[in-house]
């Protein structure tokens, strides 16, 4: 298949059958290696020493290898597997093979590095490495969708100069002579950040390498019309959706309960590549057809999967992580009303979460609350939290939203900090007594709804549900409320007005929209939803304290992370912020060693995202078209075309 800008050719000129066979064999080998021992000692985390019983990393190799093999068969049109590869293109096979390669080689390298030497590899490790490489080589011999030409950004000579200087400095700092050249006072800046002088050359060379690789592979994407799906009875379609969500639950559960960093990194690698593979193969597009046809079933299945999560866990640790992810995700979705729909940049959103949490905590019977005797029922406390946030939202929004431009960002940034500092000082000494200062309001009693004590484990149908499981389900209700509100409002008169304001405020006003009013509604709704989530959060955590509500900090939710979750996930969508929040919560929680470089890592990640996928991980239909229009088959001429035609 060829288009003006794309062609379908192999990267490596192999005989067609050989390429296919190599891909298939490689995938199967990598998968089979999971059943072999990868290393002789159980010192490597996860104990990969057994024959016949895969563990940890091996599961990932198994999944990646199988996916590669199945996609290769599907793309070749083997009966019964075509649903996996409806587009018929081979790019998905390559991505799956690359994912497998990444997992296997990462594991092998981790074993070799951590145990000091390749001798520590057992046959299984070698099979995994060779098999996954074979699969990639084979996949490169398949006809792939490729760009005809590659636009290469220029790499200026001074980049290399900077890289070289950094490398020399690193050596110099190591030997001491470079250090003597700087005043003693600022020496620690250099000695404590040696990695920086390594990172710079690595980044420059890495970028250059990436460009070379890109020029060689020229992987692109040809939008192929999917063949009409075989008509399934409605119950079968619903069954498919259910199965997919069950699988999704399995994947998420695997991710949440990874016990060591290596496994989580490999998990992330495979998930990214597998998603890319399924996107390229068209399986996700096909699934989307199904889910749009059965929207309510899909939503139901998603919530059922989330609700089933605590029942699948034997320990409470990961359930608490799940509940915290839900809190973070719900708040992110609330922020998406403000940022994604109305286009208002709110840099202090976490303060509204805090207002809700504090308001609810004050009236929920904590011994540290100034209203000591007051213990309102949980729903009333939640309502009070939401209302308090609403009031603050209106108070902050009313004066600032009249102005256009970035005033809102500055004011909300300030408000976020003022809130935290005020909570710190309303302790009866530096200010009126309200919040118990830095100690916060602790020991909030467990929620008790209609005799159901959320603090105690319960048993349902023989399945155990612990304290955090209870709260996770409670939080899920709050999430559901926010999802429903978002979904309904986004597609209504007021939601359209928000998007119109975001797109072009002047034109929107000229169409009769009262910009100020509509923006205030968005801002207030966003604040209310955050307040609602905050009230529940106060009960889940059992305590509120000022340091939970930072602009940027190591633990989500904070304003910067919330914004990142929305942008990373996809602005204006429902699932985007949910996915973004899950990732942004899990990554720092799982990769403890990243802690001190977390913000840097996020900066880099966001830059990469903006470069490669500006619409976020999950694009709504609009943004998909907005950012990748050039790659789509031409739908309509651009204005310039019309002008040239008019001139002709």
């Amino acid at each position: 298949m060829t288009t003006a800008s794309h062609e379908t050719t192999p990267v490596l000129r192999l005989p067609a059958v050989a390429a296919f066979a190599a891909t298939l064999a490689g995938g199967v080998l990598a998968a089979a290696s999971a059943a072999m021992s990868w290393t002789w000692t159980d010192e490597f985390p996860g104990d990969l020493t057994y024959y016949g019983s895969p563990a940890g990393l091996q599961w990932l190799a198994l999944a990646g290898g199988l996916l590669t093999a199945l996609l290769a068969l599907g793309a070749r049109g083997v009966k019964g597997l075509r649903w996996l590869s409806p587009s018929g293109g081979n790019n998905g096979v390559l991505f799956a093979a690359l994912g497998t390669l990444a997992v296997c080689w990462y594991s092998v390298a981790a074993i070799a590095v951590e145990l000091d030497g390749l001798v520590n590899l057992d046959p299984g490790g070698w099979v995994a490495a060779v098999g996954s490489l074979l699969a990639v080589v084979g996949a490169l011999g398949l006809p792939l969708d490729r760009r005809r030409t590659v636009k290469q950004p220029p790499v200026a000579w001074w980049w290399y100069l900077v890289a070289a200087v950094a490398a020399v400095l690193r050596v110099g700092l190591g030997q001491g002579w470079a250090l003597n050249a700087v005043p003693p006072g600022i020496r620690p800046i250099f000695t404590e950040n040696l990695w920086f002088f390594v990172a710079v050359p690595v980044a420059v060379l890495g970028f250059r390498l990436w460009l070379l690789l890109d020029a060689w592979l020229r992987i692109g994407r040809i939008e192929r019309p999917l063949p009409a799906a075989r008509a399934l009875p409605s119950w079968a379609e619903i069954l498919v959706i259910t199965a997919v969500f069950a699988l999704g639950l399995g994947v998420v559960e695997f991710g949440i309960s990874t016990e060591y960093g290596e496994l989580f990194i490999a998990f992330l690698l495979l998930t990214v590549f597998a998603t890319a593979a399924l996107l390229a193969s068209g399986a996700i597009a096909r699934l989307r057809e199904l889910t749009t046809r059965h929207r309510s079933v899909t939503t139901g299945a998603a919530f059922a999967a989330a609700g089933a999560f605590p029942f699948t866990q034997s320990s409470e640790t990961y359930v608490l992580i799940g509940a915290n992810i839900l809190i973070f995700a719900t708040v992110a979705l609330g922020l998406n009303v403000v940022v994604g729909l109305a286009g208002l940049l709110d840099l202090g959103y976490v303060a509204f979460l805090g207002v809700g949490a504090y308001a609810a905590a004050l009236v929920s019977g904590s011994p540290f609350s100034v209203f000591r005797g007051v213990h309102l029922p949980f729903p009333v406390a939640v309502l009070i939290g939401a209302l308090a946030a609403l009031v603050f939202g209106v108070v902050i929004g009313a004066p600032t939203l009249r102005l256009r431009g970035d005033y809102l960002a500055i004011v909300t940034l300030g408000f976020g900090e003022i809130f935290r500092i005020a909570m710190n000082n309303l302790d009866g000494r530096s200010g009126p007594s309200l919040t118990n200062g830095p100690n916060g309001i602790a020991a909030i009693p467990d929620v008790n709804l209609f005799g159901f004590d959320f603090g105690q484990p319960h048993e349902f149908l023989g399945l155990q549900l612990g304290k955090f499981g209870n709260y996770l389900l409670l939080m899920l209700v709050a999430t559901a409320i926010v999802v429903v509100v978002f979904g309904r409002v986004a597609n209504s008169r007021i939601g359209r007005a928000w998007v119109a304001i975001r797109e072009d405020e002047t034109a929107a006003e000229a169409m009769g929209i009262n910009g100020f009013r509509v923006k205030l509604i968005a801002f207030a709704l966003g604040a209310t939803l955050a307040g609602l989530a905050g009230a529940v959060q106060a009960h889940v955590a059992g305590a509120v304290s000022p340091d939970q509500y930072l602009f940027a900090g190591p633990v989500p939710p904070n304003s910067a992370f919330l914004l990142a979750a929305v942008i990373l996930g996809g602005m204006g969508t429902i699932s985007g912020p949910l996915v973004g929040a899950a990732l942004l919560f899990l990554i720092p929680a799982k990769l403890q060693f990243l802690q001190s470089y977390q913000l840097l890592a996020f900066g880099v990640a966001l830059i990469l995202l903006m470069r490669f996928r500006p619409e976020g991980l999950i694009a709504n239909r609009r943004q998909q078209l907005e950012f990748h229009e050039a790659e789509l088959p031409a739908q309509g001429a651009s204005p310039d075309d019309a002008l040239t035609k008019a001139g002709a």
Partner: protein, 278 residues
């Protein structure tokens, strides 16, 4: 030159109800007087043209009428009511407009663009959107039906689900008109509706303007395409350096020396003026 489309109704039927009355509108930007004491009346059923060289202040005058700018002096009344200088209130009162540089909501679909235009004629708020009661659904359905009718009217129904930004230029102009019509205006202001169009598209635009007039909507249109203006308009006003120098029918405008001078610069030997007079 022969006219191929004779203007119907309008000027010949004397003095229909005035829809728009601008009196003594002045707009100053610092030392620059972009619009200088302009009076203009548009009556029911009329198509009025507004022409003038680049930078004459035509768009600025439109902005004063629609509340985008607060005029330094002067008043604008619509059907006898003085208009507050706020765009959304002007639209609500019944004046809709298009922009010289197309200003669609480019990442919304064609249908959504028109639905936004209906904002002032619907009133469902946040709560009814969340609760989705039967009356909300009825109103939403009505809005959609009405929007589809308008798209049909402008010949865009087939593209309802396309993104506005993906439409060809001519259709974007049409969509802007459809969006303006969605607010059920009594007066439509068009700022250079045929800029960048090819001759066929311009013809189609003429048809569309007549069709809109036949709906009972008065029209005030800025154009540089004289053929278009003289085909369409019952009356044309000429703006030069912020001042209205002539207003009248085709003959009056074409034969006015000041107009010729304004468009062609000061006559050097008088040759240009005589040429234009023929």
């Amino acid at each position: 030159m022969t006219t191929d489309t004779a203007p119907v109704g309008g000027a010949s039927a004397p003095l229909a109800e005035p829809v728009l009355e601008a009196s003594g509108v002045v707009m100053r930007f610092g030392g620059l007087t972009a619009v200088n004491k302009v009076d203009l009346t548009v009556r029911q059923g009329e198509i009025v043209g507004l022409i003038g060289p680049n930078g004459a202040g035509k768009t600025t005058f439109f902005n004063c009428l629609t509340g985008l700018y607060v005029p330094t002096e002067g008043t604008v009344t619509y059907k006898g009511r003085v208009l507050p200088p706020r765009p959304h209130l002007v639209t609500e009162a019944g004046i809709a407009r298009t922009f010289q540089n197309i200003r669609l909501f480019s990442n919304m679909t064609v249908l959504e663009n028109v639905l936004v235009g209906r904002h002032t004629r619907t009133k469902e708020g946040l709560f009814s959107a969340i609760l989705r009661g039967p009356s909300y659904r009825r109103a939403e359905q009505e809005s959609r039906d009405r929007a589809m009718e308008l798209l049909e009217f402008c010949g865009l129904a087939a593209k309802a689900e396309h993104l506005a930004r993906n439409l060809p230029y001519g259709e974007q102009r049409k969509l802007e008109i459809a969006r303006a019509l969605a607010s059920e205006p009594g007066l439509l202001l068009l700022d250079e509706p045929t800029a960048g169009m090819n001759p066929q598209e311009t013809r189609a635009a003429e048809e569309l303007v007549f069709a809109i007039r036949d709906l009972g909507i008065a029209i005030l249109v800025i154009e540089h395409d004289m053929k278009f203006i003289f085909n369409l308009c019952d009356r044309t006003a000429v703006l030069v350096q912020g001042q209205k120098i002539v207003e009248g029918d085709r003959e009056t405008v074409q034969n006015d020396e000041r107009v010729v001078t304004a468009y062609l610069g000061a006559p050097l030997e008088g040759t240009t003026a005589t040429e234009a007079d023929q």
